[in-house]
Symmetry: none
Subunit: 405 residues, 2 copies
């Protein structure tokens, strides 16, 4: 993996001051045209954002890189200035973040899929017929009761959803040099977690023993009679957000995934609101004690994923109406953007660039009084990569020293 030269230079230039930076993430805010009527952002009535746009810098960002559709984890790492191609999180850790499992630094987490195997041990359904949460919970309860943890290890199971669960091995001296057991195919047995041929992991042997026990314990289950484990990973040893930027950060986020990814980079969660009004009020309040606020609004993504264009427009307008409460606290630098686009026409995250609005004291001006994808693409900021947003905000807040004499 290449070195994050840019991020390291930014970190070396970071300087503390009292200026406040607010990063307001409207999750999935970008979109596509809808039958010639424009994107949700174009169709929404946003008088407050439009007025702000007239005295802000506009632009757009590719969260990861051109053409790449971001997951929520990498999308947010990018907004936090952590190059997601360098700072890759194991799937096990992402699963733990998604349900806000209190992962400890020495834990090893893996994502589990329940699956169905036949009497020969060959997989017949890699998702166990997509069992519901109720079956998932019932089966995990059996596992918790019956499993005999190998010496020195605690084994924790948590429901995620449907056929998905989380397994955490807790103990001292555990490693994560452990292979996926999912063969990504049916008609064959699960793989061993030992990474052949070198087989050096002590923890892989522990994982193997647990999986063998699970198979016996679940033998009589009609669907979820086996597990497949993927992405064994430990909490990553990265420089924290406060270390990297000399900021005193706070997260205002109502959903587990975003609290989790905040915690991943050392941003403490100070409040868990979900409505736009509460988010803006709580972000404003957090500015008293903190120099950086990450505020997260989920519903622009959720409506996008549901294919609900009118809902997305309404949610954008909800945030616009709430905005004056945040503006009253007068952040020195305010960024409004998303972690990715979620066009209702696609009902999914997408690779489209994400619009950016950045209010800051030292701008060139000349932008239009409108905040949408079309206005943003010819704005002062141009098209950048998501990881460039934090450095730009730091610069505008006077928090970056000069590079070289």
């Amino acid at each position: 993996m290449y070195e994050d030269v840019y991020g390291n230079v930014i970190s070396s230039l970071a300087a503390e001051n009292d200026k406040r930076i607010v990063l307001l993430v409207m999750d999935g805010v970008g979109g596509c045209d809808n039958d010639g009527a424009g994107t949700a952002l174009q169709q929404a009535k946003t008088p407050n954002m439009d007025a702000l746009a007239g005295r802000s810098a506009l632009g757009q960002h590719n969260p990861i890189a051109t053409g790449i559709t971001p997951g929520s984890g990498p999308g947010h790492l990018s907004l936090f200035g952590y190059d997601p191609l360098v700072y890759q999180v194991g799937r096990g850790v992402l699963s733990a973040l998604g349900i806000e499992f209190p992962l400890e630094k020495t834990d090893v987490a893996a994502r589990l899929n329940f699956c169905t195997i036949d009497t020969d041990g060959n997989i017949t359904d890699r998702r166990a017929g997509r069992i519901g949460d109720d079956v998932n919970k019932r089966v995990l309860e059996i596992l918790r009761r019956e499993i005999k943890p190998p010496a020195g290890v605690e084994v924790l199971f948590e429901t995620v959803a449907e056929h998905r669960a989380l397994m955490v091995l807790r103990g001292e001296g555990l490693d994560d040099d452990i292979g996926d057991t999912d063969p990504q195919a049916v008609g064959v047995p699960a793989l061993s977690p030992a990474r052949r041929p070198h087989d050096k992991s002590k923890t892989a042997k522990i994982a193997e023993e647990i999986i063998n026990q699970v198979r016996k314990i679940l033998a009589d289950e009609p669907q979820a009679n086996m597990i497949l484990a993927r992405g064994f990973a430990k909490w990553p040893d990265w420089p924290t957000f406060p270390q990297r930027y000399k900021l005193n950060p706070a997260a205002v986020a109502g959903y587990p995934m975003y609290r989790g990814v905040s915690r991943l980079v050392g941003i403490p969660v100070v409040s868990q609101p979900t409505t736009a009004a509460d988010i803006c009020a709580e972000a404003a309040a957090a500015m008293k004690e903190h120099t950086f606020i990450f505020a997260h609004f989920k519903y622009t993504d959720k409506t996008g994923e549901d294919g609900d264009l009118p809902g997305k427009i309404e949610r954008i307008e909800e945030m616009d109406a709430a905005l004056p409460a945040l503006m009253k606290a007068d952040p020195d630098v305010l960024i409004i953007t998303g972690d990715h686009s979620t066009p209702p026409s696609l009902k999914a995250h997408s690779w489209h660039p994400v619009p950016i609005l950045m209010k800051a004291p030292h701008l060139r001006g000349g932008g239009p009084g409108r905040f949408d994808e079309i206005a943003c693409r010819s704005g002062e900021i141009g098209t950048i990569t998501g990881k460039e947003l934090m450095p730009l905000a730091m610069a505008h807040a006077g928090k970056l020293e000069k590079f070289g004499a």
Copy 2:
């Protein structure tokens, strides 16, 4: 540090011909809006540049990377096509460049700060009360007289300004694996120049001996009674500009820093004018013998640093009026840009992108007849990194071979 893949490819494609490239640097030319009246460049009357803009490509560049405010050294390296994140110059060498000290390849240079220490040897003022140039010169004179150079080494001191000075160790076989002695704190003693724990540098021991002598020599000084040394460095062993581009270059630059950074990459200084009229005339004259001219105009930066908006406007207009003398010599490719922005509203270098005008024979056209930050940000060149400018100029001058068959 990562490899400069792009720069190496460009170098491998470079081909010689008779075409002339002129890089006219208006130092610090970019700016911010000034209370709704626009930037200095927007407010200046520049009929010659505007006419040129109508038949040129416009764009903007980030000299180092988004959000990073460039020092003069890295800003110019970028314009010369040397990625400043790869080609990093030690502070000692930058100090030597800034006063145009004739550094030799085997020299080791360090930046000195005079400081004040108490009777226990603890630092009480890291800048010795910011002594004036007169005290600086008087104390250096004492050092020159009293220092007993360690065997085989010559020790040279030069005034920079206020509390800042330059120390150069001259001799054979010197290394620069030497630590900073500035602890970046008061109430503690200066650090040893030996980089513990490995301590392998012969020259660090020499530096230590010199610093110990200095402390004794200056013991009776009221303020400047000790030195702190930073950024020990040797002249970097880089491919020169003529090697890299197969160009026969010349620098036309009136200020020491810019002559120094030209020399750093092997561009000889042929003339030292400071007014716009002289710069344009001398650049035109240099085109007779040279295929690349770097011409440097300082006052657009100086007025910016002074917060003097009318002065900056006037200096831009001065250059505009001088331009026809340069155009008469008909450079094949002419670039007008800056090494960074210096908004009078910030009184300092800034991170804002720098406008570019590039006159060249094979353009797409369609640009506005105006040269300013707003026109440039939607121009043909788009937003590039500073290091991409030289390759673009080389291409337009027909000096780059095709990549691959």
